[in-house]
């Protein structure tokens, strides 16, 4: 590489309600810094070019692909990552419904889907199926297809609307298998 690397920059930001100060090179993506420097490894690297949505985080409430945001661009901004979706160990209704609805297989795309679905339900608590599919068009799943994902977002929407607190499932794995068998 020609010349010396440009100096690292000091960045202050809020992630999941907590203040973070970090040093990064200008060339580093937000995703790289989240995963490699801040140990927030929930956002996944899929395509690394803005197509798959596995690295979705909320930047001032709007979903973005963190692989095509420079870390230096988040100075003074507010971020929410998948780590900030559950509330003190209690799963968010979207997470709970993904679990109950078996809306994942390998799981790589799941954090991105959940963060994007959260952005949707925060804006539009009762979306139509078409609105859900349209809002999640930037998230790709290569395992399950999209039906279980869409159904789980619909279920989460109903649960949030009903105002019920999410119930912790004592045996999520068993339930998943049972549901998967029922659906086959």
């Amino acid at each position: 590489m020609p010349g010396k690397a440009p100096a690292k920059m000091a960045i202050s930001t809020t992630i999941n309600g907590q203040n973070y100060d970090f040093l990064c090179e200008p060339r580093q993506s937000l995703l790289e810094v989240l995963r490699d420097s801040l140990q927030l490894t929930g956002a996944k690297e899929g395509c690394n070019n803005g197509n798959c949505g596995a690295c979705t985080v909320l930047l001032d409430g709007e979903p973005v692909n963190s692989c095509i945001v420079l870390a230096v661009e988040v100075q003074g901004r507010e971020l929410t990552t998948i780590e900030g979706i559950a509330n003190r160990g209690e799963l968010h209704p979207i997470q709970q419904c993904f679990l109950e609805g078996a809306a994942l297989q390998c799981g790589i795309c799941t954090p991105g889907f959940i963060v994007a679905a959260k952005a949707l339900l925060d804006k539009k608590p009762n979306p139509s199926e078409e609105e859900i599919r349209f809002a999640l068009a930037g998230n790709l799943c290569r395992c399950t297809g999209y039906d279980k994902i869409v159904r789980s977002v619909q279920a989460a929407s109903e649960r949030i609307q009903a105002g019920s607190t999410p119930k912790q499932n004592p045996q999520p794995n068993q339930t998943n298998q049972q549901q998967a068998q029922q659906q086959q």
Partner: protein, 296 residues
Amino acid sequence: MQAFTYHAPRSVNEAVELLASTDGKSVLLAGGTDVLVQLRENLRHADHVIDIKQIPELTQLKTTADGGLSLGSAVTCSQLLHSEPAAPYVALLDAAQIIGGWQIQSRATIGGNLCNSSPAADSVPALLALGAEVEYATPTGTQTCCVSEFCTGPGKNVMNGQGLLVSLKLLPLGPTSGSAYERFIPRYEMDIAVASAGAYIELADDGTIATARIALGAVGPKAILATQPADALIGQTPSDELIEDVARQAATLATPINDMRGTIEFRQQLTYVLVKRTLHTALLRAAGQVVSHHPR
């Protein structure tokens, strides 16, 4: 990604000076959805990245004194989709809501889409149909040009890497007018146009067509303003036969390439169909009907 120095100037002058002083080794960053991918994949090299989002005037979206719309070059698709002054410019909204998915729309800018100068850029036929003027700053001063003269070929535009797009000015809309943009892709979302069309229609009090603009995308090295076919609409009473005839004329202006996404013949046929559809939609919208192809 290759190493570079990051700059976030606060004014257009500062940005233009940086651009000039870095001697062609810099790149402007707005939404980054094209530029950051190009840098990472070594399709472009830059020693300096100049982020323009901290320049207040570039993020402004407002109605102009003459009743048109002024769109700063760093205005994102999301910002546009939720802005009141932009709401009547339906063709541009049609385009903004199908540029990538939500994650892309949160970042991608209409200005960036234009500067990337892809022949398949979704916003460009909409801008052509809406009669946009481009204002850009260079070291020697501010220049303006019609959006139809801005792109000069695939990935190329009149600024030639030496200018900064400041704003897009869209003409005031007629009291009885409608516009539309549509593209064809083999799937429902998240793809690049195989062919596309934009249309604007303004009706006179007697119901005849007073103003018409038609634009074609992805069927030439740059988007095409189909002036002659659009002029054939002027003074006429809208009818299916008239639209059919004009759409056929417009399709003859398409000069597409053969590639894996479509043959020449297929793209010409698509152009005919899309011009017909966008003219119909623009007329319905001029009549006050809400026509929506996607949830907004």
